[in-house]
Each structure stands twice: as C-alpha cells, then as structure tokens.
C-alpha cells in the first residue's frame, strides 16, 4: 500500500509541475535529442509516429516522454538507447529496438542509475540486449511493457528486466520473452512483481538473488529453462503464480536455494520436470498449491528444515516427493495426494491411515538416475508396495498423518 501511495504521489507531482507540451514529429525532421535539450523540466514531449536513429539518448531532466502510435527508436545494434540521468522521468508508448550485444558493458533499452520515481509504461522493447535496467534506484514503476528478444545462449544474452540494488519497485503486467532471465533482481528489497508473463527465456522466468521482503503475485512462468529461482533471499512471498511446462534436463518450476521465512501459496505447478526444488530452504510455509502432472512435484533435499507443506494438492505426478535424506525435518501433514489408498471410516474427510509420499522407487531413482527406465514395471510396483507396508529404506517418519480424502479447490 505504501508503495502505491508513493507511486500515486509521484504521478501528481509530475502533473502539477508539468508546464508545456512539446510535439516532436520525425516527419518534420525533429530530433528527439534536441527536443530533450530544449525542453524545460517537467515538460511533456509528445512523440509522433516515425523512426528516430540518434544513437544513445540521454534524459537529464524530469520529463514525460509520451509516444503517440508507438514511434520507433532504433539503436541500430550499436549502443544503449535511453539512459535516464534524472529522477521523475516517465517514458510511455515508445517502441525501442535493436541494442547491440556487448560482452563488456550491460547495454539496455532503457536504463537508469541512482534515480527515483522513474516510470516506464506500455513500451515495446524488441531485441534490446537488456530491456529495462535499473541500478541503485527506488520508487519506480515498470508497467505493461512488452520485452522480446531471440536469445540463443546464456553468454550472449541479457535480461528483460533487471533491477540491481533497488527498493520499492513495482513491476506489473509486463511480458518478457526470449531473454536470459525474464526478470532479474539482485539486492532488491520491498518490491512487488505482479501479473507478469515470462516465457521462453533461456535461464529463469524470474530470478531473485540476495533480495529480501519482496512479493511476486499472479505471474505466469511458462516454457523457461526454470520457472523461478529464488536464491539467498529472505521473506519472499510467492502467491497465485502459474509455473507451466518448464521442462528440461536441469529444469524446475521453482528453484529454492538458501532462502528463509517465505510463503508459497495458491500457486499452480503444471507439467514441469520438477515442481519445487529445495536446497537449503528453511522455515517456508507452503500451502494451497496444486502440483499436477509434474515429473517430480517436490524435491526437498536434506538441507531443508522446518518447512510446512499443508493443504496442497498432489495430482498425478510421477513422483510426489523425493529427498536424499533418511530423516525428515519438514512437516507434510494435511495434503491431498492422488496416490493415497487409505480409507476414511469416520467420514471426516481425513484419511485414517497415514500416507507416505516417498515411494521406494523415487528413492532408488535419486540414487541411480538410470533406473528411471524401469518406471511403471511390475517389479517397481511390487517394490513400492512392500516398502509401503514395511518401510526399510525410505524415511519412516516422513508421512502425512492427516491426508485429505478429496482435493482442495
């Protein structure tokens, strides 16, 4: 809420100080760079349709740059395109394209450093090495942008939206595809990532590093190398996201590494190779999620402790849960497991027999990868059954003592 108020106030600030509107029409030979140089602070530049090829454009005063009918700003594959060196700049409705790949500097479609109250709204960024890149900035809005590229490999590609040492940023309704990471946050605190779509990125749909107290809500991550990676972060809230078809040899819907005190709720994990992969993930509350048709719904390694998994649906996954430890430090009570074969005599909706989500075969597969080829064989069914009756290899105490009989909606 605080964030919204701040953004709202920034909006009013710009409008109240805005003095005059200047029309910049490339058809009449106008130059965007000259228009910026001539404008007074808090002016509005109305950029008319056409193409500007002026290399790197530096905005050094508070301006509202509004594109009408998506004028094209083309970097011709050479330089960074828009560099913001002032606070309270708004860029809206531009089509920014062709930033050259550089292995030395992080060129971007739009970048800002050490600024506040920047708003980047409804732009189209095509083939811009890094799309939007904010450094050391705060109280900014990145909304409704479409950021597309055709990345081939990790080394020669940038991130669609990259935030570095920022705080209080709202990233909303953007569409990022074909980059290395869709959205990348490093040292970003108190920010909110909402309703974005991140697809077909080579590495991660969304990537957190060393960021705390952030929320990401209602996003869709589809067909990325891995959906979301949350690493070395604290108090992250992850809600109502969809992790779909993130498939590959090292692919995860959600990759958790060294994270503490987060909430993962109301998400959907569908058709991923691994739904959630946890390594050193601690004190997380995982509830009301649906895991459906994944290869592995949960891979929780032995380094994860004090997590609570409750009220989740596990439906038709090849393996619901696997771990490499024979003790359990997490709580798995009160979930729905489509594999559950127990009964409910007192009809209270809770199964009377505990459910053991780890099958012997998933334990074997963790030990020897190649044994996956025996999946669904009669032998494996027999082994799983005997192990279920008398657990010898799988953690005996890893069980759901109150399994639900029906899936939660």
């Amino acid at each position: 809420m605080k964030l919204f108020l701040l953004l709202l106030s920034s909006l009013f600030c710009i409008n109240s100080f805005g003095q005059s509107a200047v029309v910049v029409d490339p058809a009449k030979g106008a130059s965007l760079m000259e228009a910026i140089a001539d404008a007074a602070p808090f002016d509005t530049l109305l950029v008319q349709p056409g193409t500007f090829k002026e290399g790197r454009i530096i905005i050094d005063k508070p301006l509202f740059i509004l594109g009408v009918g998506y004028p094209v700003i083309d970097g011709e594959g050479k330089t960074e395109i828009i560099t913001i060196l002032s606070d309270s700049v708004t860029i809206q409705g531009l089509q920014i394209q062709n930033v050259g790949v550089s292995y030395i500097e992080d060129r971007a479609g739009i970048s800002a450093e050490k600024q506040t109250h920047i708003r980047i709204i409804d732009n189209k960024l095509y083939n811009t090495f890094f799309g939007v890149y904010l450094k050391n900035s705060s109280h900014c809005l990145i909304q409704g942008n479409e950021i597309k590229a055709d990345a081939v490999n990790e080394i020669s590609s940038g991130n669609a939206i990259q935030l570095w040492y920022c705080n209080n940023i709202l990233v909303q309704d953007n569409h990022a595809s074909g980059h290395r990471d869709g959205i990348y946050l490093e040292f970003v605190d108190d920010s909110r990532i909402e309703n974005n779509t991140s697809t077909n990125n080579i590495r991660y749909g969304l990537h957190f590093m060393f960021s705390n107290r952030d929320q990401y809500v209602g996003n869709t991550f589809e067909l990325n190398g891995a959906g979301v990676a949350v690493m070395f972060s604290k108090k992250i809230t992850m809600q109502y996201n969809r992790f779909i078809n993130n498939k590959g040899t090292a692919s995860y819907g959600l990759l958790l590494k060294e994270i503490y005190d987060g909430t993962i709720s109301n998400n959907t994990f569908l058709g991923n190779t691994t739904g959630i992969y946890g390594e050193g993930a601690n004190r997380l509350e995982v509830h009301h999620n649906t895991f459906e048709k994944n290869g592995w719904a949960l891979k929780v390694l032995g380094s994860c402790m004090d997590n609570t998994f409750t009220n989740n649906n596990f439906i038709n996954n090849n393996f619901d849960l696997t771990t490499n430890n024979n003790r359990s430090y997490n709580n798995y009570d009160g979930n729905y497991w489509s594999d559950y074969t127990g009964y409910d005599l007192d009809k209270d909706g809770i199964g009377d027999v505990p459910h053991r989500p780890i099958k012997l075969f998933s334990y074997i597969v963790t030990r020897s990868d190649a044994s996956i080829i025996l999946l669904r064989s009669l032998l494996v069914d027999v082994l799983n059954f005997t192990e279920k009756v008398t657990p010898a290899f799988t953690p005996e105490l890893l069980q759901d003592t109150t399994p639900l009989m029906k899936p939660l909606l």
């Binding site: 498939k247 691994t274 290869g295 074997i364 020897s368």
Partner: protein
C-alpha cells in the same frame, strides 16, 4: 501351411477361449474408461494390465494349445505335410486369433469413446502395437518350450518360469546391476538391457508417450532422446521382430529333430 493356418485359426476364433479373452479385455477397458472418463489415464492403467496379462495369456494358451492338439499333430504329420508348414500354421492360427481378441476387446470400447478424434490416438496405437507384439512373442516362446519338452508338466513349469523371468526377475537383476554399478555411466547399458526384454521395451515404448515431463529429467532425457527418435523406434520395432522370429526359428529346429 495356409490350409493348416486357416483350419486352426477358424477352430480357435470360434472357441470359447478367444471369446472369453475378448470379453475380458472389453470389460476391463470399458470399466476403466467409465471410471476414469479420460482416455490418457485409462491408457496408463491399461498399460500395466497389458504388460502383465498379454505375455501370460500368450505363453499359457500357447502351451495349452500345443499339448492339446498333440494327437491331431501326430495324425497330420503322418500325412505328406512338412513339419515346418504344420507348426508355422498352428502358431499363426493361435497367435493371430489371440491378437484379434485383444485388438477387438480393446479397440471397440476406445473407438466408442472416440479415441480417433482425441489427442490420445498415438498413445492408443502404441498400446495396441505393444500389446500385439507381446502376444506374438510369448506365443512363439510357448511353442518353442512345448516342442522342446515332451513332458507336459516340465513344459508348463518352464513356460511359467520364463514368464516370471521376463515379467519380474529380469527387472530385478537389471535394477540390482544399476545400483551396484551406480558410479558408472549406465545409459547405454540400460538401453541395451531394455531391448533384450520384450516386456521392458514394450513398456518403454508406451512410457515415452505418457510420462513426458518426467523423461525430461537428467537421465530420462537421454532415453527420451534415444527411444523417441526414429532410430530408437526402429530399433524397438526391430527388436520386436527379432523377438518373434528367433523363438519360431528355435521351435522349428526343435520340431525338425523331434521324434514323434
């Protein structure tokens, strides 16, 4: 040969056994389709049943039919008929009648549930192919065992052992060797070991269609890449053909030497 085939085929297709078998498949398929109401899920459940039942049915009915028609064999072989023609005709008669019961028993319910217009049609065809191949292979194995063993009890015992070996023991040895040699790269070994067991390669063939998300895992991807390619599918088909032909060949050899 064709005459023998025609005779035994007509005899078998009218017998109560093929009828019961066809009805059984139909009942199971209808039941599963009715309960799951989802073609793909029914195919998964049917896969387990078929991998279990088809080899058993093939090998048991094969051995029973052979021993039952022993008097008939002696009578016919007294006539100027080549042994090769006679036994091949018998084998084809039996295995094809079983395949027809299987295909009809499974096919009719699926067709009624509209499999041809759904996206499960490839899975369904793979299932039919694998199931039919299993029947052909295990019938051939049964005929071989029966020809090689004059003693009925011995013959039955060996046939059951053979089924047990391919259904469970083989996988057990396979799994154990995977665990013992876990620190070695085992992908190629696993592929070879899979091709050496008809039940295993039928299962892998169906699994490739169904468990796609899992097979994108680290090692799964290797198998997926191999068996999912044309080369892999050709190899599996080739293995199936070899698995049908070689027991028939062994059966014919045993029949040639046999003293009736």
């Amino acid at each position: 040969m064709l005459k023998i085939f025609k005779y035994s085929f007509q005899d078998l297709i009218r017998s109560k056994w093929s009828f019961i078998l066809g009805l059984f498949y139909m009942a199971v398929t209808f039941g599963l389709l009715y309960m799951s109401n989802d073609l793909s899920r029914a195919i998964v459940s049917l896969m387990n049943i078929i991998l279990f039942i088809n080899p058993l049915v093939g090998i048991m009915l094969g051995i029973m039919y052979y021993y039952n028609s022993r008097d008939f064999s002696e009578l016919l072989l007294a006539q100027p008929i080549k042994r090769k023609d006679y036994f091949l005709g018998q084998y084809l008669g039996l295995s094809l009648s079983l395949v027809i019961s299987f295909v009809l028993g499974l096919g009719v319910p699926f067709l009624l549930y509209g499999v041809l217009v759904s996206d499960a049609v490839v899975n369904f065809l793979t299932l039919m192919f694998a199931g039919s191949a299993l029947v052909l292979i295990f019938c051939a194995l049964a005929f071989w065992v029966a020809t090689a063993n004059e003693n009925k009890i011995k013959g039955f015992g060996k046939a059951i052992l053979l089924w047990l070996f391919f259904a469970i023991l083989y996988d057990g040895i396979f799994l154990l060797s995977l665990l013992v040699f876990e620190s070695y790269p085992l992908e190629k070994f696993s592929i070879a070991a899979t091709l050496l067991n008809p039940i295993d390669f039928s299962r892998v063939l169906i699994m490739l269609q169904l468990d796609v998300s899992l097979l994108f895992g680290y090692t799964g991807a290797v198998f997926n890449k191999f068996f999912g390619s044309y080369v892999g599918i050709l190899l599996i088909t080739g293995a199936a053909v070899i698995w049908v032909i070689s027991p028939i060949f062994m059966m014919l050899r045993a029949a040639k030497r046999k003293d009736f």
